[in-house]
């Protein structure tokens, strides 16, 4: 039972630290994540500043902020990747801090350093930690020294396809080529045998150059059907590091996550504790602060291997928020402002089950290729346990310039089965017209027996998904009836006949008649 005095002291302490919170913050991002950050800012009383490219004038993230400044340009290079322009905006707006979101400049140590040099607080880890983690080979060396288990492979970049061939001979096939500067599956290729190595090396290297400006690759052995399980950590500037449990992100296609959930169906409380401790150790090894994610591969025998640390807020952070009850952006801002963590490891409790489906402008029926178009109309889901983090709205042009992620649909329920049922219901409510989305894929997934049984690994989609999976017979028939009725109605109204003067609301009158008949 807390004594009233202690409680009063606590309120006072909290008030005192709140006084140190920023008054204004620049959000150096766009889309759903910028909207999400702006929302927490508003709750905390922090004024938010948006920056926008030419096509984004008037976009949802601009309207979510208190102030907005033009960046100009269209492509990311012309706009959201312009570190100097962003810092100049922060200065002009009088912002004290910069939140980079994810993607764009979020894991760019030079940007973090430039913010610091300009007297701005970068909401993220210190540049030194980012550098230590940004090079995947350097990170592997550091982690090995800290006793973090690694996937077998090289600790140095492999310079040529021939060098990779020699290394692969040692490791054994299959292997994965990965970008040294990489992340997010870009510049990454699986090679099953020696013959495929040279073209894969070229493709991965080109991709790495295009995505990160650095073509270097390293090599890892490919584990058999592992799960992708990651641990969320929070580290303050006073040496406190906690983990917030795991997220399972095994449902992927071409290394792009499609769905995330917490807890993982494959992680026992004991394994969670082990993985959590290793993640905390990994964070300490590089002097990490703020929110971060330690990614692991988990094999069938419960062995886990370090993949990388994502030195940013993750796309999938909401599933952790829903099971822990924490607002991770709020935590990020407090940490960046110098507050100590308000809780210890033992206070972190995970409750129920959360699932996130990424709603992307990609066509599942056509190899998940990016889809473009103008959003004509939407209807978003709602109701108990449903959260939509998005910036999707009618009239919006979906271009190829930016990430295809349109929105995230996240549900919480008391257990996994209930969460799946809830997600299924919410996906059925989600209607998007004008651009192809991954909603149909997710509906298929919710009904898949292997997914329902929690039997997911990173090969799940390749093994099970077939674009012919298709909709149920009843749904198809309803669509046909809807199409004919709508087309017929349009055809008829084209014939310019005088309108019938009938009062509207005949459903009501019919219902009334029906009610009368029942009497």
């Amino acid at each position: 039972m807390p004594c009233p005095l202690a409680a009063a002291a606590c309120v006072w302490a909290r008030h005192a630290v709140l006084l140190r919170m920023f008054t204004k913050l620049l959000i150096a991002n766009r889309g759903e994540i910028a909207v999400r950050i702006a929302r927490t800012c508003r709750e905390l009383g922090v004024r938010s500043v948006a920056a926008f490219s030419d096509p984004d004038m008037g976009a949802a993230h601009v309207r979510a902020a208190d102030e907005a400044y033009p960046l100009g340009g269209t492509t990311p290079t012309e706009s959201y990747l312009r570190a100097d322009a962003l810092i100049e905006i922060a200065r002009r707006a009088g912002a004290e801090a910069v939140h980079p979101g994810y993607g764009f400049l979020a894991e760019n140590a030079d940007f973090a350093q430039a913010c610091a040099d300009a007297g701005l607080v970068f909401v993220g880890p210190p540049p030194a930690a980012m550098r230590a983690l940004g090079s995947k080979t350097a990170a592997r060396k550091t982690m090995r020294a800290a006793g973090v288990p690694l996937v077998p492979g090289t600790l140095e970049p492999v310079a040529t396809a021939d060098a990779a061939l020699a290394e692969a001979k040692r490791t054994g096939y299959p292997i994965v080529l990965k970008a040294v500067a990489g992340g997010g599956g870009k510049g990454m290729r699986v090679v099953w045998q020696a013959e495929g190595l040279a073209p894969a090396f070229r493709q991965a290297s080109n991709e790495a150059q295009a995505a990160f400006g650095d073509p270097s690759l390293y090599l890892e052995r490919l584990l058999a059907e592992p799960r992708h399980v990651e641990v969320q950590i929070l580290a303050d500037q006073h040496g406190n590091v906690v983990h917030l449990g795991e997220r399972e992100c095994s449902v992927q296609r071409r290394h792009q996550k499609l769905l995330e959930e917490s807890p993982s169906p494959a992680v026992s409380p004991r394994l969670r504790e082990q993985m959590g401790q290793v993640a905390v150790r990994a964070a300490r090894a590089v002097g990490y602060t703020n929110a971060g994610t330690c990614e692991f591969l988990l094999d069938r025998d419960g062995n886990f291997y370090f993949l990388e640390v994502n030195a940013r807020l993750q796309v999938e952070h909401p599933v952790t928020e829903l099971v822990t009850g924490l607002d991770l952006v709020d935590q990020q801002l407090r940490i960046a402002a110098g507050e100590p963590l308000g809780f210890v490891q033992a206070d972190v409790q995970s409750r129920g089950h959360a699932i996130e489906c990424r709603i992307s402008a990609e066509d599942p029926a056509n190899q998940f290729f990016p889809a473009t178009g103008r959003v004509r109309a939407i209807r978003e889901p709602g109701g108990p346990g449903v959260r939509v983090d998005g910036a999707l709205e009618p009239g919006q042009e979906i271009s190829l310039f930016y990430d295809p992620l349109l929105a995230k649909l996240i549900v919480w329920a008391e257990d996994r089965a209930a969460a799946i049922r809830r997600m299924r219901r919410a996906l059925g409510e989600y209607l998007v017209l004008g651009v192809r989305t991954t909603i149909s894929f997710h509906r298929w997934l919710m009904d898949h027996p292997a997914f329902q049984a929690g039997e997911t690994d990173i090969g799940f989609v390749e093994r099970h998904w077939s674009p012919e999976a298709g909709a149920s017979d009843e749904l198809t028939k309803n669509a046909v009836v809807a199409a004919v009725l709508a087309a017929h109605g349009a055809r008829r109204s084209r014939r310019a006949l005088p309108p019938r003067t009938e009062p509207d609301g005949r459903w009501l009158s019919v219902a009334r008649q029906a009610a009368l008949r029942r009497r």
């Binding site: 870009k186 493709q203 080109n206 991709e207 995505a211 066509d363 190899q367 290729f369 990016p370 473009t372 004509r376 109309a377 939407i378 209807r379 009618p394 190829l400 295809p404 996906l427 059925g428 409510e429 989600y430 209607l431 998007v432 017209l433 004008g434 192809r436 909603i439 149909s440 509906r443 298709g470 909709a471 749904l475 198809t476 028939k477 309803n478 669509a479 046909v480 009836v481 809807a482 199409a483 004919v484 009725l485 709508a486 087309a487 017929h488 109605g489 349009a490 008829r492 109204s493 014939r495 006949l497 005088p498 309108p499 019938r500 005949r506 459903w507 019919v510 008649q513 029906a514 008949r517």
Partner: protein, 198 residues
């Protein structure tokens, strides 16, 4: 369901509902052929002074009503006692129906037009050609085939870089390369033909 026949069929559609359509003022029957994917269904719309009924694939006619509660593409359909909502986009040739998170492309033809089309299609067959088109704008990184080369389903034709990813475009079916329309280094638009197969 007992009251169904006695129930008045409400006029279809949102805004100003004209009294009737088709052959004359008193109503009538319009037969449609709806194609979704490889599936074709016949749909009859029966209209009289009381309203509209729909008959799917020779089944029982059900009273049908449509409303647009938001005044936009969101349509509510009441067919018999079943209610469902969908986003609807009508275009020349095909309707897009977004229903329970699924998107359907439905081609609606009236039966006469469908019959006509099937007669035309019965003419002498030409060698089928398929163009492999760019699914998105991008940069051609590599062309993996030459004219005259035979390809089998799944073989790689062109590598296209877009969204910072390299995407392999593959043959959908066995065939022969008739023409290569692009070369490495070339930027292509969405929908642009890259390779012509026969």
């Amino acid at each position: 369901m007992a009251g169904e026949s006695a129930e008045s069929h409400e006029a279809l559609s949102p805004s100003p509902p004209p009294p009737s359509f088709g052959e004359g003022g008193g109503g009538g029957v319009t037969r449609y052929l709806a194609t979704v994917g490889s599936r074709a269904l016949s749909v009859e719309l029966i209209e009289d002074d009381e309203g509209l009924a729909v008959r799917l694939d020779g089944g029982r006619p059900l009273p049908a009503r449509v409303r647009r509660p938001r005044g936009d593409e969101l349509h509510v359909f009441l067919v018999g006692d079943r209610v469902f909502e969908a986003l609807v986009e009508l275009a020349e040739g095909a309707c897009t129906i977004v229903l329970q998170g699924e998107a359907f492309e439905v081609r609606v033809q009236d039966e006469r037009a469908a019959r006509l089309a099937s007669i035309t299609a019965g003419g002498p067959r030409v060698v089928a050609q398929t163009d492999i088109r760019a699914p998105m704008p991008g940069l051609v990184v590599a062309v993996q085939v030459e004219p005259g080369q035979t390809v089998s389903r799944g073989s790689s034709l062109v590598v296209l870089q877009a969204m910072k990813m390299e995407n392999e475009l593959t043959a959908h079916e066995d065939g022969r390369v008739r023409e290569v329309l692009v070369s490495p280094g070339q930027t292509v638009d969405q929908g642009q033909a890259l390779v012509r197969l026969e």
